[in-house]
Symmetry: C2
Subunit: 336 residues, 2 copies
């Protein structure tokens, strides 16, 4: 059966396009507070799990060994905009571990941030691996490997101890095995493991509540979350939802976008995690669904991320991106 | 009922995302050679009908009056890349009609072509309305208005004679009424009218066969098509499907992309038109479906527009964008 329509766009009096998807909201036990669509199909969380991929950086002692600041830990959890500040911080992380840009294997791409991309062009400079939105994550992975006396070459390979350590942490917190059958390679060359949205939602509930986790792990997760809430501009960038909302509601909302229409996050006060995937991978729909959910729970954020109007190039409103009836009904019925 | 899945993307051994949509292929009588999904719901064709929106430019005599070349007529049918050549040609069209850039009302946006956009940034220049991918269409509309002694101000309004003339031409060729109930405003501020894909497919079959149309209209359409086939780089831009395929198969394939996952086109030799819309508006899926159709009919184009592999930033293949079983089966069963 097809997933329900979560977001639709209009033009004139007609619906022009629509996005189907699935959404799970769960507590740390896995009890579902909401399920919409198929929440049991495995979904690659992509960059949405960067905060969990950063766990070994803290748990092995690598972050302390190299004196990583909260800002640097936040960058390791981020899909950053590739500004000079972001790229410089990634370079500093590498330098502390005795490494350089050429040790990265995330690959080079133009900065995600439009003004950062334009600045590079204006300078006549080519983007480097430091501008890759994942360079902080990769610097953290490399630092962990150096700390553990592991070879840095091949740190991105699924069989390398750096990636195996991440896989085990994800298995332990999620409670599901992550074998080769659900393994994919992300755009930045490191492995990513698919999990049902129901499992991702409870995993994010555990991330923010620590429920069922050992004290050391709870403390490491709390340190990672605090780093993100202190430095929301390093988790994404100026004007992006993760930055804007976490700056407005630190300690109330944790959220992280992933490629191909994924969003995961959690609400510590409510003891709930969420995970969603838009079938077609559209960012506008993943962001629209996430903002509809957060605005339902925290009306204070309404208007912070204007995501409604579709305009002409002169700014005249000619349509809308809006939540669809199935999503509205599910959110209206959500009991928290 | 949900439309079928036309295109899917994979990562590792899993399907990661998928795109639903509908596709109609029809002859000029409206007889459907293929229908997949709901082909009766009204769809805004957006820029896919630019060749038809250019018809009054030729039919009123405005193109002859101002000495428009085939290149300029092609630009009026195009969603161009905003290179210096494209913008300069639009400026020349305006100048011939005694107008200038400020008479345009398409609005300014960064060139669609990445290298054209980068060139502007490198010069420190802001994009103008001439760089708007629709500037050729708008220059043609303005020239028609001048030729017809109509006010240029407000030429973009649905009630202006320039737009009413286009609406009537679309009604006459499509054979359906285009009233306010199916009227939307495009991103470039001019009206656009929604039609079922079945109607759009037969409209494009009539565009290339001329069947059922008066001689003057057939000749005007033939002149427009010839202009596009002679100047495929003005209909889109370097590396884009419309340019690449029409350069390879002039007079065999006419094709034009539209926003929000629309594609329309026709095959003169076969006497067939096609129209498709991806539900979610994704360009990758509209292009993928179109190329699958064209490759089925003209195997010579295989490999011209590589649209398969999903790669890491290092170029390693980690997944694929591919036609889904429902599309494969429909195309395999297509009798031409």
């Amino acid at each position: 059966m097809a997933n329900p329509i979560l977001i639709e766009t209009t033009r004139g009096s007609l619906v022009e396009s629509w996005h189907r998807g699935a959404l799970a909201i769960a507590g740390p036990s896995g009890a579902l507070a909401l399920q919409l669509g198929d929440v049991e199909r495995p979904v690659y969380p992509r960059s949405a799990v960067k905060a969990l991929q950063a766990l070994p950086l803290v748990e092995t002692g690598a972050a302390d060994r190299f004196g990583f600041t909260a800002a640097e830990i936040a960058l390791a959890c981020g899909s950053h905009a590739g500004t000079e500040k972001h790229a410089g911080l990634a370079a500093a992380m590498l330098a502390r571990a005795g490494l350089g840009m050429d040790d990265l294997h995330c690959g080079a791409h133009a900065p995600l941030g439009a003004s950062a991309a334009a600045a590079l062009i204006a300078e006549g400079a080519a983007p480097t691996q430091l501008h890759n939105n994942c360079s902080g994550k990769h610097a953290g992975m490399l630092a962990t490997g150096v700390h553990m006396h592991e070879p840095t070459d091949g740190y991105w390979e699924p069989g390398h101890p750096v990636q195996q350590r991440i896989r085990r942490a994800l298995e332990e917190i999620s409670g599901v095995p992550l074998g080769a059958d659900v393994q994919g390679i992300d755009g930045c060359s490191v492995p990513n493991w698919a999990m049902p949205l129901s499992v991702l939602a409870r995993t994010f509930a555990r991330l923010v509540t620590g429920e069922g986790l050992a004290r050391e792990r709870r403390e490491a997760l709390a340190r990672i979350l605090a780093a993100c809430w202190e430095n929301p501009e390093l988790v994404a960038g100026r004007g992006r939802a993760d930055t804007v909302v976490m700056r407005a509601l630190p300690r109330q909302v944790f959220m992280k976008t992933g490629a191909e229409g994924v969003y995961c996050g959690a609400f510590p006060e409510l003891g709930l995690g969420f995970a969603l995937k838009i079938d077609d991978g559209a960012k506008r729909a993943a962001a629209g669904t996430t903002m509809a959910l957060i605005e339902r729970l925290y009306p204070a954020v309404r208007g912070l991320m204007p995501h409604g109007p579709i305009r002409t190039w002169w700014g005249v409103e000619v349509g809308a991106i809006r939540s669809a009836p199935a999503l509205d009904a599910a959110l209206a019925g959500l009991k928290v």
